[in-house]
Amino acid sequence: MSLTLGFFVIFLSLIIPGLIFRRFYFFGEFSKQFNTKDPVLHSIYFSIIPGILIQVFSLLVLKFIFNYEISFLKVFNILRDFTQEVDILNCDTKKFLKNDVGYFFLYSVFLVVFSGLIGYILSRFVRSYHLDKKFKLFRFKNQWYYIFSGEILLMKKFKEAIRVTFNKIDNHDNEVLTTYADVLVNIKDDIRELYTGFVVDYDLNSDDISKLDRIYLIDTYRYKRIDSNNEYKKSELGFFKNRLSQQNLNEDIPTRGQKNIPGDVFILDATKIINLNLTFVPNILKIEENKIKQETNHNKKQNLYKRISDILLLVLLVSLIFNFTNPFSIIESEYYNFYLNNFSFIRKLLFLFLIIQFLDVFSPIKNDSGIYEYKSFFIKILVFFIMIIINIYNIIDFYFLMN
């Protein structure tokens, strides 16, 4: 009985938060990765680590944000009593059973809500910052979504390959209008058909989400099988050439030997697919909008950097003047006057270099193209620290002389 109770406690405390987290983490097209048909042990295995982390994180949130005092020793004693066969219950367990069961229930509800929230936020964070495309660790198992949506082109391997292909539009954000597919399907034995259409949806195999089950196409055409006497030349995967004069777009005759498949949605059995050719049509409007946004942001940034540069230059000029002289005795300070009157020119120069280097850390550099940018930050910091070390003698000397 105690073992069952102990397992129930562990299930409630660790497995359920993990399950809830995974349910909310795998959203949308990736929700198939959370499969209720998974074996129990499989679900437990993948839920236990997120469950432990969420449990620890919630306890920290309760302790530091809500100032709820938790004694981990008491928690340990209670858990031990539940999981082991004990004749006499610990006083902490007795107190818990008498007074704190309601609080535990409320905490469990908080944990469930918190797990869902964390799962939701983390998954959106990963997608928002394209971490699933940059790093394999965050990539979802539903590779077919990345393939059909065109996001696969944002992955490192494909980004490098795409430079040698002929999609020449500068499409950094991968704004895809639609995906056009050429699908070669094996009907039976040696009979094959080639279909083309715009991909609108797909289904995955429920047992293995890496396998495709069905593809849904709109505006589907089948490549027509025609004999050699016909005016159209046949090719399975290549191009159709018209031997007559140029086709007028307004005519109802297709430009190739294609037969339109009437209907709203064409569903292809993916198990019979031999190969698949995809073309991602760029969304020109969105690309132009993104370009304009980028330019605007770039201009704003440049204006800001220019202003910073101008202000720092002004500060430098003022420092240069006041480091060697006190014009019209503007500054009335005993320490400043002592510095001006008692320090040698070389020492003042060293101190000026320190000020210059300090300002340089925050100053943007204008490159050959006239663009302001922050460069070599760590080198500047290093030089600044070196200048501090050089000026330490100045500072110590100033202190002793004053005193």
Partner: protein, 80 residues
Amino acid sequence: MENKGTFLDNLIDVIGVVSIVALTIHLINNIKKSTETKLISQDGYNAIQDPKKAKKLRKVIDDYHKNGQWDTKEIQSIIE
């Protein structure tokens, strides 16, 4: 006088809560929009629903397959 103050406080509290709820909903909608998992964009869907535009789009794709260049003006006219 006290009742008016209390009423004002309550009103400000209600406005504050409503603002927070509205802001939260706005943030959630923004996050949803930027992270939605769609195979086909709304512009693309609208384009292929129209048979004439779908035909034009096919022609653009055929030309791209032949010469490796996208006819950006034609795509723009299809989307608009």
